[in-house]
Amino acid sequence: MEYFINIGILFCIYAMLALSLNMVVGLSGLVSLAHAAFYGIGAYAVAILMTAQGFNFWGAMCVGMLLNGITAFIVGKILSKFKGDYYAIVSAGLSVIVFSVLLNFKSLTKGPLGIYGIGKPAIAGFHFYSSASFLALAFLFVVLFYALFVLIDKSSFGRALKSLREDEVLTVSLGYKTTKYKSLIFTLSAIMAGVAGSFFASYIAFIDPTSFQLAEGIFFFTMITVGGLSSAFGSVVGAALLLTLPEALRFLGLPYETAAQLQQLIYGALLVLMMAFRPQGLFGKFRV
């Protein structure tokens, strides 16, 4: 049971990430590879502030949200000068920069040694020490993020995003200041990714920079591409699928030497197959 609860917690964290990224990639057509950076900032905010400064989880998470908001706002402005593939490359640059900072700014982040002993959240004296309670809390946030996604999708704000993802020039001529829209959704998405990172740090209790490399951002991308672009349900399905796949392989009793390789092979094959036969993903509402 404990095992499934722990898988459940990881699912919640990945679902939060998938929902946040899908807002930017699926709803708005912005190919962001920067989200590993925001994930990392959220995680380290909680790790540093809780262990070194005695913050509680919520305070630390809020600081992380603020940091991500500011970073995303500034980076978003730079990114708005680029389109398509260039946007992806420049956004990947942020992931590389943040990873480098996490690795090298030893006085703050302890570099490769990582930060351990990260505590759990508490509300009115109740501490979320048990996995089951942590899962419930994490799930609450998934529901919140899901609702936010649906709200945006159904609103006029969402309609404008969906319009600018296909034809930004047309959207501008219909009266929308698209740079502001892109900036807002990117910032919001970054804050959400940071919240996922905060939960991750608290759950795993030890973090080091290796969990926040560019490769993670590519993994997040795979989740939403397979699950479905521009779809809240697709985001969640993608997270569930890509999380349970390696775990299922574990249970198949394959020799360990092949299991990890097979997992990578399957991810790669999934992406290729998806793009070839179903570019919108399983439950997607937008074809790239």
């Binding site: 095992y3 570099g111 490769p112 990582g114 759950y203 795993i204 249970f251 360990y256």
Partner: protein, 360 residues
């Protein structure tokens, strides 16, 4: 008559069957869940630790034990975060009695999980002897950073090294420990230049050329795979001789032939017989920390064998605290209050693919 013999024969056969069942019922299984880097760059290290683990179990099982011991291996791809799911799976699904892993990062991730489950957690790692404890049920074994540094400083001083370029990776204690080391070396009159590299770096040629130009004829390396092999190859490309290369944990590389005649400090690899056995029976080239894994598993087995109730973690940890300081395969083992069982480090080289201890 025939019928009687037949019946007797069946009864005996049945009795024999019964005995067998009783035998297995008498010997419950103790499962060791080992979470190691089995794929990726660290696979060579994982293979070594796996061999050490299996060798320890094999040796123990030769004796008449209360329990039968079995190891179950999970891959964490050298990422601490993946150790958490692996640990949870081993606990919940495989119902392991003890966890074993490699590196401090992985150990710290598993420590609270093990503690919550009331399980023993063993970690093979190189670490600072003053490191924070990992958890109430966690013990870790390996050479201390301090012993590495002490051996290295003596060895370098004896060889009259004056100018040293220290190249290290931003992984674990590799780069983190260089600041202190530099100070100590400076006290011994050595001019040390330190450069740390990201784990993704693959080209060290320019830094090497730069140091050669500036007159640094000796290099000291602290890397993990796959960088270890790459740096050494690139040093050879620049015509740096093995005699001018030193390392710590140099034997974390995959291609042992590269490290012929390179003097380095490493954790005690165990006896020559042990090394031969691992290489011949378990078919591994690199015995990095296999002896530490062997010692940890042996100690755990002893703890379980001597416990009245193997599910009583307090009993198990008490035994370990009492018996960890002992003569072990990797030299003298000494338990520190923080849960660190320090084994010896040694100055050695590789000759014909085998680690050979040297006088410092």
């Amino acid at each position: 008559m025939k019928k009687l013999i037949l019946i007797l024969g069946c009864v005996l056969a049945l009795a024999a069957c019964d005995n067998k069942k009783e035998e297995t019922q008498e010997k419950p299984v103790v499962k060791i869940g080992a979470i190691l880097p089995l794929t990726g760059g660290g696979a060579v290290l994982g293979a070594s630790l796996k061999a050490g683990t299996l060798a320890a179990i094999e040796d123990k099982e030769k004796k008449n034990l209360k329990y039968h011991y079995e190891a179950i291996f999970e891959d964490n791809q050298q990422q601490p975060a993946k150790s958490a799911t692996a640990a949870n799976k081993l606990i919940a699904s495989d119902k392991v009695n003890v966890l074993l892993t490699f590196t401090t990062g992985s150990g710290r991730v598993i420590a609270p999980i093990a503690q919550n489950a009331g399980l023993l957690n063993l970690v093979a790692t190189l670490e600072d002897e003053n490191a924070e404890p990992m958890g109430q049920t966690t013990f870790w074994q390996g050479p201390t950073l301090q012993s590495y540094q002490r051996i290295l400083i003596n060895a370098l001083k004896k060889r009259g090294v004056k100018k040293l370029a220290l190249l290290a990776a931003h992984v674990g204690v590799a780069c983190a420990g260089t600041e202190h080391l530099t100070k100590l070396l400076a006290k011994k009159g050595m001019d040390v230049q330190v450069e740390c590299f990201n784990p993704s770096d693959r080209d060290f040629r320019l830094p090497i050329q730069k140091y050669v130009k500036e007159g640094y004829e000796y290099f000291y390396l602290q890397f993990f795979p796959p960088q270890t092999d790459i740096v050494v190859r690139q040093l050879y490309e620049q015509n740096i001789l093995p005699q001018h290369i030193f390392g710590s944990g140099i034997d974390t590389g995959a291609d042992i032939s590269l490290f012929e005649n390179i003097n380095h400090v490493g954790g005690n690899s165990g006896t020559p017989e042990f090394i031969d056995r691992l290489m011949n029976e378990y078919h591994i080239d690199n015995v990095y920390m296999a002896a530490s894994a062997y010692d940890l598993v042996s100690l755990a087995v002893d703890a379980f064998e001597n416990a009245e109730d193997i599910k009583n973690i307090d009993e198990i940890t008490a035994y370990i605290k009492e018996h960890a300081t002992r003569k072990c395969l990797s030299g003298e083992c000494k338990l520190f209050p923080n849960g660190f069982i320090a084994n010896e480090a040694e100055w050695r080289t590789y000759i014909n693919g085998k680690p050979i201890p040297l006088k410092e």
